[in-house]
Symmetry: C2
Subunit: 317 residues, 2 copies
């Protein structure tokens, strides 16, 4: 039943499909020769297939988090380059067991899922922070230098002077003041805060589940990205309260545990690898996405948004 429909429908932007080549910048002109050339160009799936081991990196066990839910595991990777103090504090919280038994307390349509201690501000029931720091200065941006990897995307972006990828993480950069920051694309993981810049301590984290809310960039500390299991978060029932918060504890999704990959036996780890974003292969993937070829696309976009390039994660080969 699936097969017949597949042929009826437009293709997907992601790995599984067989997108081919480009129509260049012809726009609305379908010269036969150009089409033939377009179809001959490699598609993303071909590029992935032809990639070598050096086009991939394993997730870093010391910075890979597993959030265990009833329905499965959400795998996140932290980017300590961008927020070293927050990364360290979140790991301290995890290692003292802070998140185990807490819950997803918020699911807002086309925006975020967030977890925290449901008894957060009830002094009698609130979970105690033991070893982690209780106050952290904001890490909304970092000063960058040559050590911070950055593969620049040449495409125009309205939210940042420069955009690109830092070791697999979508990021913005401002050469005028020498700062860089992780971007709020789908699957970004951030540190919830109140009105004060230093009020985010890592005890409540959020994940972007909708259209990239880039206006949050440089306003809150982004700490990493969900690498696997997004569908476990995006299919949570939406909270009926203001901002998508749940009104009753029984509506919340319990968190069995959050753990660090490095602390777990090899046999219990998710063995994943991510495409490197500083290689010719990645550059070719971006181009294959920017100007789709193949039989389905009639007009190439000639552009790709920072948050639309798939940063592919797959089982370690």
């Amino acid at each position: 039943m699936r097969r017949p429909l597949k042929s009826k429908h437009f293709t997907t932007p992601f790995v599984a499909c067989a997108l081919l080549g480009t129509l260049g910048l012809l726009q609305n002109q379908y010269a036969v020769a150009a089409e033939a050339k377009a179809k001959a160009k490699p598609a993303m799936a071909d590029l992935i297939k032809a990639s070598s081991a050096s086009d991939w990196r394993a997730l870093d066990p010391e910075n890979t988090l597993y959030m265990e839910l009833e329905k499965g595991r959400v795998v996140m990777e932290l980017a300590p380059n961008f927020a070293p103090n927050h990364a360290a504090n979140i790991k301290a919280l995890i290692r003292e067991g802070y998140f185990n038994g807490l819950a997803i307390v918020r699911s807002q349509e086309n925006y975020v899922v967030q977890w925290a201690d449901p008894d957060d501000e009830n002094p009698a029931k609130k979970r105690e922070v033991k070893t982690a720091r209780k106050n952290l200065d904001p890490e909304f941006t970092v000063r960058y230098d040559k050590k911070l990897p950055f593969t620049r995307l040449p495409d125009v972006d309205g939210y940042a002077p420069q955009v690109g990828y830092a070791n697999g993480f979508p990021a913005g950069r401002d050469p005028k003041n020498g700062t860089a920051w992780l971007a709020h694309c789908y699957a970004a993981v951030g540190v919830a805060r109140g009105n004060e810049s230093n009020s985010g301590d890592g005890t409540s984290l959020y994940v972007i589940t909708g259209q990239a809310p880039r206006q949050l960039d440089r306003n809150i500390t982004v700490i990493g990205r969900v690498m696997q299991g997004m569908e476990l978060l995006t299919t949570t029932p939406r909270g009926k309260g203001a901002l998508g918060f749940y009104e009753k504890p029984e509506e919340m999704t319990p968190i069995k545990a959050i753990r660090i990959a490095a602390d777990m036996p090899e046999t219990e780890r998710s063995k994943l690898e991510i495409i490197r974003t500083d290689t010719p292969t990645f550059k070719a993937i971006v181009e294959a996405q920017r100007n789709r070829g193949g039989d389905w696309y009639k007009v190439p976009a000639g552009h790709i948004d920072l948050c639309n390039v798939p940063i592919v994660v797959r089982p370690k080969q």
Copy 2:
């Protein structure tokens, strides 16, 4: 329990929140005077509250569709200005009862939900099209003139020379060749097709559920937008097959019926109104979203993406 968390967390980009003003273009400079001014500026919620009846329009009953699912109703509005033949054919299909008893056959993470006849290409079981047309020329773009409303967004866009809103629908425009088209933002409704441009007949429709796949613009016929009930689509379990198609009929979400508002008694209609996009109020809302003020935001974005402006729909006042 919700209240305490609310104060801990960043605010939402949508109506319910109390976003205030703007920090102008100060970026990284927090002059006290400027902040005070920012906080005094109206936020989106204030603008909505202060709006008058003439800032809103009712959904057009003749072009409003109700898709009835077990869990509730998805309300869509067609934009016949952009695809008159497809709009007419979809209404013909609805009026002959084509969709009643069919199903959501695909749910792909961060991309689309799609419905169709699950027996689509099984000649023995396939549902017959009675009165509607079986072949339609593509309506990927339309020629525009002064009659086609268009409130231009001044912000840069990588996918189109000009972007804006046409009577509530996000759209692109190319003055060089005089064409306009609806954009693939979250909640856009489109007409699935195969590789041939004219292979979309309206019997299978899709809704964008993730980061705007704008590369589809001008490649497929967009016919409207979901106005209410997106969460009924975005929380459907993801299909395990290629491209998010379901592999078993029992995994699909049944469609009880799709009907046209005009064909239903007043008492059974969803009474909704949508913000007009050609008014000073809308312009002020866009600016309030482009440069957020208030207590939470520290750095204004100075930009807004076509697909990030909330086109507010609410119960008719």
